[in-house]
């Protein structure tokens, strides 16, 4: 498609958000090489669909494509997540017994934190990454992940809860 100016516009819209694209792909696939493959494919798709881009937030637009590409890639390449049992948690207030460990999360070992996030089911992991690492709003996350806002909120809350419990457990193991 001979369109040098459009091609340059595309690069300027997309390439500044390469880090965000790679970060999301890396957390979805949990593997460096796979993340690069996903980013590569997402950029090709983005180029193909660029004429449909209305302007506005290039990062959110690109991340939606990366997210879709990532999910498709994961389906195609066998990755079947271990289905962790969904805990039935009825409220978000932790029971009294976990006090100091939770507050000490600020100094938790980074590797343990990374493993805990990686261990989250993908639907919770992606909203945690988009909210906490990319600083996106509920609405932006809902658009990128193609979910109702209520689902974004509940997956985020579940993700945070699971992380707290998981981290408390891992830190207790260390003692």
């Amino acid at each position: 498609m001979p369109d040098p100016q459009g091609h340059r516009d595309f690069e300027q819209t997309v390439l500044p958000h390469l880090d965000a694209a790679y970060n999301l792909a890396r957390w979805l696939t949990r593997n460096d090489q796979d993340a690069e493959d996903v980013v590569q494919e997402a950029c090709l798709r983005a180029l193909k669909f660029y004429s449909g881009f209305q302007g506005g937030d290039g990062r959110a637009w690109l991340l939606a494509i990366v997210r879709n590409t990532g999910y498709t890639w994961l389906q195609k390449h066998r990755v079947r997540e271990q289905a962790l049992p969904l805990e039935e948690t009825h409220d978000l207030i932790p029971d009294g017994g976990c006090g100091p460990e939770e507050l000490a999360l600020r100094s938790v070992d980074k590797e343990i934190l990374r493993q805990a996030v990686e261990a989250l089911p993908i639907e919770n992991r992606e909203v945690i990454v988009l909210r906490e690492l990319e600083g996106l709003s509920y609405k932006e996350i809902a658009t990128i992940a193609d979910l109702p806002i209520g689902t974004v909120m509940s997956r985020l809350a579940r993700g945070r809860q699971r992380l707290q419990r998981d981290l408390a457990a891992r830190m207790n193991e260390e003692v």
Binding site: M1, P2, D3, P4, H7, E11, Q12, L15, P16, H17, L18, D19, A20, A21, Y22, N23, W27, D32, A35, E36, D37, V39, Q40, E41, C43, L44, L47, G56, D57, G58, R59, L92, I93, P94, G96, C98, G99, E102, L103, A104, L105, R106, V108, K110, L113, R114, V117, I128, R131, E132, L133, E134, G135, L136, S137, Y138, R160, L163, Q164, L167
Partner: protein, 239 residues
């Protein structure tokens, strides 16, 4: 906590947290978790060379599209390795400190930011209206800085002042986000190509810098990196 509640509900929640110990405890724990998550160490930046590989693999205008882009990319990686090493070397050379005293630009930005916070107020023109702030720079600078109000994204403009960086007068635009002060330094670099925004850390601050539409910009604040990146994206798209 996510800045998503409207004012009335926010106030209700704050009231409740003042009186309910278990909720306040839960809130603090969650804040602790979020601070831990929002540091740089969990953020995966694109590996060196990915951008170059992507540019090489994207179909160039006029050429026919490759049938299996991913395979082609992998075989290009080896060929591009030498080019990448060269580019990295050139890129690193550009980061040499500009000042003869050995102070890097990042250090100068931090110093300017801190000085602005020590002063009685960080701005000389106090206005959230960019129609007032932008013309204030006329006659004080040899360029017209791009000024936008980003209040609808949560970053209201506080005002502007002059500052001095990299051996020249620059525009300093001050924004706020909650209780965080943000300094955005802007100056022209007319022949410079666009450079994607990069986040660095300096003396405990997070900084984001880049080049867009012939303007160099540096952003500094004590906000968390996620929010800083949000601000930077808004700024970048307004340039």
């Amino acid at each position: 906590m996510d800045g998503e509640l409207d004012l009335a509900h926010s106030l209700e929640v704050e009231d409740h947290l003042r009186t309910c110990a278990s909720c306040a405890h839960a809130y603090r724990s969650l804040q602790g978790l979020r601070s831990a998550l929002q540091t740089d160490t969990l953020y995966y930046r694109a590996p060196a060379g990915l951008e170059a590989r992507l540019r090489a693999a994207l179909p160039q205008p006029g050429r026919t599209q490759r049938a299996r882009p991913i395979l082609a990319w992998r075989s290009l990686a080896l060929a591009a390795a030498l080019a990448i090493v060269f580019l990295l070397g050139w890129g690193l050379a550009r980061l040499r400190p500009a000042s003869p005293m050995g102070e890097t630009l990042a250090q100068a930005v931090v110093a300017a930011h801190v000085r602005s916070l020590l002063a009685a107020q960080p701005v000389d023109i106090v206005s959230s209206n960019h129609h007032q702030v932008k013309p204030w720079f006329n006659g004080k600078l040899d360029f017209a800085p791009p000024v936008t109000d980003l209040a609808d994204s949560g970053f209201p403009l506080v005002g502007g002042r002059l500052d001095y960086l990299d051996g020249r007068r620059v525009a300093a635009l001050v924004y706020k986000h909650g209780r965080h002060v943000i300094n955005l330094f802007v100056w022209p670099d007319p022949n410079a190509p666009d450079r994607a925004s990069r986040m660095t850390a300096e003396q405990g601050y997070h900084l984001i810098s880049g080049t867009r539409a012939g303007m160099d910009y540096w952003i500094i604040s004590d906000m968390d990196p996620g929010e800083l990146q949000q601000f930077a994206n808004r700024v970048e798209s307004s340039l």
